[in-house]
Symmetry: C2
Subunit: 145 residues, 2 copies
């Protein structure tokens, strides 16, 4: 069975994101794999599901995405990850993670897990959703406590 | 951040278990880690939760555990895993996986995932439970379709 070749790591900009990226880089290096770095801006307009999104909601998503792009760029530069490997998407995190993983032909998705309490509160639906929907391996990395 | 040092792989004896063990061995080798191999016999007596377990239930668990020990031994020998690294436990799979991981100081738990449909049917509660409760990293390896 081959090593992993394309790794996708999804970060939520929690304080452990830098540690998660470093760990993902090590795993990618050990597998001689490429690494893609993703942040998903949760789709605020979806809060109005069923309604037609208001223009200001779409603008808010766009503003959030612009801010996220800058934050991701800083995180990526700190870790030597090139522009072409940085991705910001707007939507439902688990869906966007799985979608980008397929688009990038990722064979390993890495997500952070914040411990029992935190995982269930913060990442429960994302981590579970990725685990259920991904067509590739999923590594949940324990970060923080 | 260090490589993984102690890897625990849990198998359910589905037809993909051999592939899962091979992949776990490769990951352990790449990390120069030890590998422990676990099968959990689901605690049948728990079907009578609240009642006092009947002696025949306990005997059934014991019989199932004996059969599982033989199956695990065959799987282990096929893959060159020594006796001391083979574990059969009786109980609730997610709890026993997490418990043994702590006892063995595992820093990575590997479980199989059988695809969206299969994962939810067969492994949903186990994989989710491990993900939520483990104090270490968890890798869900996609096996089968």
């Amino acid at each position: 069975m081959a090593n992993y070749r394309n790794v996708l790591v999804a970060v939520d900009f929690s304080e452990e994101s830098n540690a998660l990226v470093r760990k993902a880089l090590e795993i990618a290096a050990r597998n001689q794999a490429s690494l893609s770095l993703l942040h998903v801006v949760e789709y605020t307009s979806s809060m109005y599901a069923g309604d037609i999104p208001l223009p200001e909601d779409l603008n808010l998503d766009r503003d959030l995405a612009d801010q996220a792009t800058l934050k991701l760029k800083a995180l990526a530069e700190e870790n030597g990850i090139p522009d072409a490997a940085q991705f910001v998407e707007i939507g439902i995190p688990k869906r966007e993670i799985v979608r980008l993983a397929e688009e990038r032909a990722a064979d390993l998705i890495i997500v952070g897990s914040h411990g029992r309490h935190g995982l269930q509160l913060l990442l429960g639906s994302t981590a579970n959703g990725v685990l259920h929907q991904a067509k590739c391996d999923v590594l949940a990395v324990r970060v923080g406590s």
